[in-house]
């Protein structure tokens, strides 16, 4: 419908995706530290145009670390709804993928991330190297392109 403007927006999204970093609760914060390390000058993701967004309303990619607890479940869903379409989700770390040592039948835990929101890319590691996180976000950009074409 919007033609040229939409094309421009899609191009801008591909060249500079904004990420929102969300620790989902049940984790040791190791993955959070590695995500933050990926934003430091040593890895400098800004040379790929990747920026940390201050609010989920500004973000294109949601980077979730850790397992979902009963308390953060509502917040996770709310943050996911706030991210505008098209959006992609990257699950970082073993906890986000399967629960790791915390298991899936632990009393404060509600489940893994993919039980509540659709996850596009999984990054394995405990914690993953910043390089792996960068590659995961790059993979998510490819997914975003596909979603843009569909919409």
């Amino acid at each position: 419908m919007c033609g040229l403007l939409c094309k421009l927006a899609a191009w801008a999204r591909k060249k500079s995706p904004w990420i929102f970093h969300l620790p989902a609760g049940g984790l040791c914060n190791g993955c959070d530290i590695e995500i933050v390390a990926a934003l430091t000058p040593r890895y400098d993701v800004e040379r790929f145009g990747i920026l940390l967004a201050p609010s989920p309303r500004h973000a294109d990619i949601l980077v979730v670390a850790g397992q979902v607890t009963k308390h953060t479940k509502e917040r996770l869903l709310r943050v996911y709804q706030q991210v505008p379409e098209p959006k992609a989700v990257v699950a970082v770390g073993s906890c986000a993928i399967s629960g790791n040592v915390f298991g899936t039948e632990n009393y404060p835990l509600a489940g893994t991330v993919d039980q509540f929101i659709p996850v596009d890319v999984y990054v394995p590691g405990c914690p993953p190297k910043p390089e792996a996180i960068i590659l995961g976000i790059v993979e998510a950009i490819k997914k975003l392109e596909g979603k843009t074409r569909k919409s």
Binding site: V90, V101, P124
Partner: protein
Amino acid sequence: MKVNILKEATKYFVKPATVPFPAVQPHFPKKFRGPPRYDPETCIGCGACAHVCPSDAITITIKDGKKILEVWFGKCTFCARCEEACPVDSIKLMEIYGTPSPNKFDFISRVEHDMVKCRICGKYFATVKHVEWIIKNVREKMGETVSISELKNYLMTCPECRHKVENVPSFRKLLMRVLVKEVK
């Protein structure tokens, strides 16, 4: 003042702190613990790795006379306990980072083993390679005290049946000989 200017000027010759990542391979520190992988040639399928795994990332499934060991490093803590426990150094934590993937079951390394049937009750209970490994080790330590046929006779019986037929003279003789040798 001038010193500051000089300092700024020398920065021109300093390399940037940023690692040109996709162009060069990342730096791995000493004893880096990456995703665990099985070596299917050396693995004997004893299951020691699955026994010690704190997060149950390693699973054993016995199906149709096959023992399948799977390590899913999507659930791994990279503690290297499996590497410590492995008697043949088959499972190793590689010096690589886990490549991201849209399918979470891509992060699996697996090995398959043929199993041995118990000669009394006909139940599958151990892998062929495991039995061979035990025979090799016992022969190394005991020398000619124990014959291979005798050992095979003993090892091809499952633990439950072994308890039932403990009073079988041939088994008892074998055990006694091994114990006496050890004491000496």
